[in-house]
Symmetry: C2
Subunit: 161 residues, 2 copies
DNA sequence: GGCAAGTTGAGCAGTATGCGCAGGGAGAGA
DNA sequence: TCTCTCCCTGCGCATACTGCTCAACTTGCC
């Protein structure tokens, strides 16, 4: 089912490194026929492995130089309501529902300390949020990455490619 | 400097919705000349606003159905060492250095409960990690998004576009 | 043996890309 | 007001890629 073979992984790695590569160029680099690459990409999309090529936006370059995380505790059974309110806050960039001490993990961005204060206030003021704990991201030693997982498959001996 | 005008924002929104659009098609949709779109994209890349079009990989479809977050407390002054060790763990997908109770926020993935146990153990066993607190992501009500921030600019009255 | 799936190499029409160039409009400064 | 610069526009060109189709070959499996 959710199996990715070596060629799939090599293709994804190639696209990770040079996302604007065309199908033809990929086929040349991988040493396979163009149709094969086309077919692989279609299948990867169908399986939900390759979900698209969203533009990666550097928020810092847009002025959103601050990133913060908040852990929210919320009233029992109010997760849907709270997330809806959070969705309406532009600066909220990501929300996960989690086990453990907190119920929601929120990532948000802001342009300045004052702006961050405003955003945090908006988040905290959401109804049914009972307790919050906020941390500012000082740096991001490891930005979001998938490469190592792909490399593991690409290095595998099984499968063609 | 880090200013994005309305046209830039509309272009980024367009690419967010349909990332594989070509320059020509973008120019048609935005009602501007092709050269303009080319120039805008180059400038956005130079400024670091548009950093690329990385393939978005559905980890769940690849078998990594579990996501977990860990907050690590580490020994004073050992951030570099710890992040280097974390970097070597394939399943660690993201690390932020934060203020507050914890020092590092780690996002990791795994294929099963047993696998997650192994990954967590690897993370926790990193030297200089003194205390950890782990949460499993049950769902992701708001996946990583930038759209609202772009829309805010696109809706603005200032600037051409 | 025979079927199904995947890969290959080829071809074709349509279309996009990178590049250059001349002209025009808007804003800054003398 | 004149001038300079920056940006957008519209055009054209040669090259290259895309989506699609086809027949033929390999592989694994019933």
């Amino acid at each position: 089912m959710g199996e990715i073979d070596r060629l799939d992984a090599r293709l994804l790695l190639l696209l990770t490194d040079e996302p604007r590569l065309g199908v033809l160029e990929c086929s040349r680099r991988l040493g396979v026929a163009r149709g094969t690459v086309q077919a692989r990409m279609e299948r990867l999309e169908q399986r939900g492995v390759l979900t698209g090529f969203p533009p990666e936006v550097g928020l810092a370059a847009m002025g959103y130089v601050l990133t913060a995380f908040a852990v929210l505790e919320i009233a029992q059974g109010k997760r849907a309501e709270v997330t809806e309110r959070l969705r309406a806050i532009d600066e909220v960039c990501e929300v996960h529902a989690t086990t453990g001490e907190g119920d929601l993990l929120v990532r948000m961005v802001a342009t300045s300390n004052a702006d961050l204060q405003r955003v945090i206030d908006e988040v905290v003021d959401v109804r049914w949020v009972s307790r919050t704990s906020t941390s500012i991201a000082l740096s991001t030693p490891i930005p979001s990455r998938v490469r190592p997982l792909l490399e593991k498959v690409a290095a595998n001996d099984e499968g063609p490619g």
